[in-house]
């Protein structure tokens, strides 16, 4: 980690997204309970916790992907650029152009590799050279060398790890402010996982990344800040080193040392 964050630095400094008392309900049943923490610009923030603790649900509230799940309601504020993302005047389509997302399972479109990357900028009226943008995005996702001679082959012909990097390239082509990643390595083998973790380090200088992960070693390795959730409540939030070495809360300690979850 090139810039190991120091725990003396107040975390709220230069945050890009602020969660304030965010509660999320599935048809009235509470899934996330009054969670507040900031997401710092150009850092990697990981959200960890046992299965069903609401971490994916929380992540999806950061770019309005919960809108597609019937019966979900969000209380509290998710401020981004001074605006509440869940405000009635906010257009979710615009939100998702600024805050991209990579999913648990690679989900490339059944189109060519090139079109997978070019599609998002295309529908959003990108005017400059598409070839350059595609190359640049694939390079950023560390996939260019592997696919440069087969850009017009189907994306479905790629391996799982390559498909996931293609999905990352696809998200990067939109030049998002923030990249949300929902367990992006859970369907991948260790080598592909290492590829993607290396990639996240590279991307940090340009993007803010929020990653949900099941894998605590992964969170410890890659993230600057960590939020630990249990049964929808934020148990502890802080600098990753501190969460993993000197947690303040006993539940956090039990979780990160593998005593449950």
């Amino acid at each position: 980690m090139n810039s190991t964050p120091n725990e003396q630095v107040p975390l709220a400094d230069n945050s890009i997204i602020d969660l304030q008392e965010v509660s999320i309900f599935y048809s009235g049943k509470i899934a996330v309970d009054k969670v507040s923490f900031p997401i710092a610009k150009n850092k990697i923030t990981s959200i960890i916790g046992p299965s069903g603790c609401g971490k994916s649900t929380l992540l999806r509230s950061l770019n309005r992907m919960n809108d597609f799940i019937p019966g979900v309601t969000v209380d509290g504020m998710v401020t981004y650029g001074g605006q509440n993302l869940h405000g009635s005047e906010v257009d979710p389509v615009e939100v998702r152009r600024c805050i991209g997302m990579v999913f648990q399972k690679p989900n490339p479109f059944p189109k060519s590799i090139y079109k997978n990357v070019a599609w998002g900028p295309g529908i959003n009226g990108y005017k400059d050279s598409m070839d350059e943008l595609v190359e640049q995005s694939l390079r950023q996702a560390a996939l260019w060398e592997e696919v440069k001679d087969r850009l017009h082959e189907s994306a479905l012909s790629l391996s799982g790890g390559q498909q996931q990097r293609l999905c990352i390239a696809r998200a990067l082509a939109m030049a998002p402010d923030v990249l949300l990643m929902d367990e992006p390595c859970s369907a991948l083998d260790p080598i592909s996982t290492a590829h993607i973790e290396d990639l996240l380090f590279e991307l940090k200088s340009r993007y803010t990344i929020v990653i949900v992960t099941h894998n605590m070693q992964q969170a410890a390795r890659i993230s600057d800040h960590t939020a630990f959730l249990e049964t929808g409540k934020l148990i502890e939030f802080g600098v990753t080193d501190q969460i993993f070495t000197r947690p303040q809360n006993q539940r956090t300690e039990e979780y990160v040392t593998g005593r449950f979850g």
Partner: protein, 309 residues
């Protein structure tokens, strides 16, 4: 039974004691039932082939496939099948022009926009439409659609291709809508989410991601519907009439291949004569055309299932 006694029974009982007759009977019975449809199909092919063969001993294939006059019952006889093929094509084309856009639009609405509640009401109604006897549709065409058309186009004949095309279009529409809806609904939700996460609108996701991803299923539904339109009998006989005619407009009476078969089957031709044999050769042609379309749509569907396993 305790575990001990159960195991004892098992150990003493592994030798074959007798054939399991009930098992054998059930198996044979089921096999026979499956055989019925295969034997029927083979019998149909044999009969069509035999009668068709003797037809072609009297009429040259060139006259049959290329001739433009179909006068099998009156002297001088002429056996050019093109007017019947043309009638079928006209009705099928008109039906496709009506049913494909509306059917696909309904499918898109059902799979992408409709709430579960709306879907649970509309889908059974569509399936109900598919169960109405076709003669009822024919009557509907004759007594409702044709008078309506007469109001718009005063020159239109009582029996006309347009009315037939419209009613066949209405008939195959539920098929396109439900089969295409199935194909679109089978497109994984994760693909839609991936597209939405790139800042796409519902319309962009539907037209540029979901429909292309489900395209083979959608195409298969079109082909099945066209094959059904080609084979449709009662509705077109009632609506479009019985005048073999290479008409360039939809306003005149025509005769489709199926309508011709109905006409002859009702007793217009003496058994055994050449006019009677035309029945089989026209039916054979129909059989081959629909078989090709069905095989084609099966092939497309299989490709589609390979992609999303």
């Amino acid at each position: 039974m305790t575990t001990d006694t159960y195991q004892a029974v098992q150990a003493s009982n592994i030798n074959k004691r007798s054939t399991r007759w009930a098992e054998f009977l059930i198996q044979s019975g089921l096999g026979l039932c499956a055989l019925v449809s295969i034997i029927t199909t083979i019998a149909i092919i044999i009969i069509l082939g035999k009668e068709g063969f003797s037809f072609f001993q009297h009429v040259s294939p060139a006259e049959f496939f290329l001739g433009t006059r179909w006068v099998p019952l009156l002297e001088p006889q002429s056996f050019g099948v093109l007017p019947l093929v043309w009638g079928t094509l006209l009705v099928t084309f008109g039906a496709a022009v009506i049913a494909i856009p509306i059917g696909l639009a309904s499918a898109i609405y059902l799979s992408e926009y409709a709430s579960d509640r709306v879907r649970s009401i509309v889908k059974p109604i569509l399936e109900l439409l598919a169960g109405i006897p076709t003669v009822v549709y024919g009557f509907f065409a004759l007594t409702f659609i044709t008078p309506l058309l007469k109001g718009i186009f005063p020159d239109i004949q009582v029996f006309n291709a347009l009315s037939g095309a419209i009613v066949v279009g209405i008939m195959v529409l539920p098929m396109i809508a439900t089969l295409s809806d199935n194909a679109l609904s089978a497109v994984p939700q994760t693909l839609r989410q991936g597209a939405y996460a790139l800042g796409a609108t519902s319309y962009e996701v539907t037209t540029q991601v979901v429909v292309p991803a489900g395209l083979s299923g959608v195409m298969a539904s079109f082909l099945l519907a066209i094959s059904r339109a080609i084979g449709e009998t009662m509705a077109v006989t009632l609506a479009a009439g019985a005048t073999p005619n290479i008409s360039l407009t939809f306003f005149e009476s025509i005769q489709t291949m199926t309508a011709y078969i109905v006409q002859i089957s009702l007793g217009d031709a003496p058994a055994g004569g050449i006019a009677y044999q035309t029945l089989f050769v026209v039916a054979g042609l129909l059989f081959v055309i629909t078989l090709i379309l069905n095989v084609l749509s099966q092939k497309i569907l299989m490709r589609y299932q390979e992609v999303y396993d």
